[in-house]
């Protein structure tokens, strides 16, 4: 299946005329987003996530490298008819929500009854149908983000590029967005999701890329990234909890983890103590742990920032 989005050795440098300095926001970034997947795009602030998205949308030109979106080079305007985009800190014209969504749909060459119906549908999907006639200048931040999502969905896009789509949403709305993304994926759409909400990404994304200081530092299937090859969790019964460091007992079951290299020794010890093995599994980490592991070494401590 063809890639929906491809970055090929993309580098982006910002040059300042006044200071003659250049900042490399993206450095030889290469990633392929396959069709019909939800792709999570992670990284600390300033990692280059938004830069990568803006390059894909054609808002910027790469300093080096190239990329393709739905088979066409970045910036191909006609291709954007098949793409939905929600920017971080969504900014929309102040007019009634329904008229606004129709405006953005019309820019994508939609018209007539199809546009009217689709506008109503997307406002319903994002839970704004009761506010369709209200000027979005009076919307809360969360409602604005829903309106932004509606304009991204109005053309029923094949590829949805979302930059922090849930940052201003309440937990209920987040669940709505999560279900929306999963449903879109199941209907054959591709979603490129940039987010700081790691738990959300962990729940919905098929693959994840972690960007740090413009470089790709981790990339793979979410399940593979969360599975640690370094530690093994052993669950056993009929042994004392204190027989192993860090052992926790619950209802006669003892749970502990050991380095993968010590797995054989630990199993033999359980048996030698008269115990019975219930399960042996690689330790599953949270995405937050993975994220911190690959980015923490170079993070600026908060305290340092305060000083």
């Amino acid at each position: 299946m063809a890639a929906a989005l491809e970055f090929d050795q993309v580098t982006k440098e910002y040059r300042s005329l006044s200071s003659r300095r250049s900042i490399r926001a993206l450095d030889g970034f290469t990633v392929q987003v396959e069709a019909e997947e939800i792709f999570g795009f992670l990284g600390p602030n300033g990692a280059g996530k938004s830069t990568a998205i803006h390059l894909a949308m054609g808002f910027m030109l790469p300093t080096n490298g190239s990329g393709r979106m739905l088979g066409k080079p970045f910036g191909h305007s006609a291709t954007r008819r098949r793409v939905g985009f929600l920017a971080e800190n969504v900014a929309l014209y102040h007019r009634p929500a329904e008229k606004l969504i129709r405006f953005y749909g019309a820019l994508n060459a939609m018209d007539g009854s199809n546009l009217a119906k689709r506008t109503r549908d997307v406002l319903q999907i994002v839970g704004l149908e009761e506010h369709a006639k209200r000027n979005i200048g009076k919307f809360s931040r969360g409602m604005l983000q829903r309106a932004g999502l509606a304009q991204a969905l109005v053309n029923d896009p094949e590829l949805l590029i979302l930059d922090e789509p849930t940052s201003a949403l309440d937990p209920l709305a987040r669940v709505m967005v999560r279900e929306l993304l999963l449903s879109a994926r199941n209907n054959g759409k591709t979603i490129f999701l940039s987010s700081h909400l790691l738990s959300e990404v962990e729940l919905v994304c098929d693959r994840v890329a972690v960007l740090h200081r413009g470089k790709l530092v981790r990339f793979g299937k979410t399940a593979d990234l969360l599975q640690s090859s370094e530690r093994i969790e052993i669950v056993a019964r009929s042994i004392a909890a204190n027989a192993f460091a860090g052992g926790v007992a619950h209802n006669g079951i003892v749970r502990f983890s050991v380095p993968a290299s010590d797995q054989r020794l630990a199993l033999e010890r359980v048996w030698s103590l008269g115990g019975e093995i219930v399960s042996v599994n690689p330790v599953r980490r949270s995405l937050e742990e993975v994220f911190l592991e690959v980015t923490r070494d170079r993070q600026t401590p908060l305290a340092e920032g305060v000083q």
């Binding site: 808002f59 985009f85 920017a87 014209y93 820019l107």
Partner: protein, 236 residues
Amino acid sequence: MKPILLIALNFVREQRWPIFVLLLWVVLLAMVGLFADLPRERDDLLFIFKQIAIYVIAFSVFFGASAIYNERRSRRILGVLSKAVARDQYLAGLILGVAMACAIYCFALGATATWTLGSAGFPIPQVWFLMLCLVAACVLAGTVALMFSTFLHPFLAAGATAIVLGLPALASLAFSVRWAYTVPVFVLAANVLKSSFKSPGGVFWLPVGLALLETFFFWALATVIFSRVDIAVEVE
């Protein structure tokens, strides 16, 4: 064509308050016309008409110079250019928007002048030709300002526009009148400023045609420059 029209209409909508303020000048002309002793004070009325008419050129520069900047600063440009809108279409939409905003003003001014100056004996077809000259001047001035604003701050873009529009005018005064036709905003404005009841002026299409041709040229130039601009970079 549809995206261009949508962007233009959206521009006019976003600029509705400045346009409204502009229209207050037309109301002023109407009020003067209502209370003036037309046969006796007709030259005063024409003076006010010409003064009010020329304001719109300055406003077209203001509209053109600030259009992209405002859209980039508010980040609303991302929403528009994330759709199937090419950058040349986006610029064409803004130019059409400037033209519409100025045309609304010129239409209101023309209608008021038809009533006031027409009653005082000024040829009505000439009123509308002068309005056409004004619209052509505004479209060209706005496009030059828009072109500069693709890479300059609005204040600098307005300054650069003033130089581009003003130099041919100065050259025409110092050397030959032909210089004024290189960027014919001055010629078109002079058409309006020189008209009088005794000599309302003729219908000269050359500067109008030149203005439209140069609008196309500056739009093409703006497109080339704007296609190389990183629009998602903060403009502050």
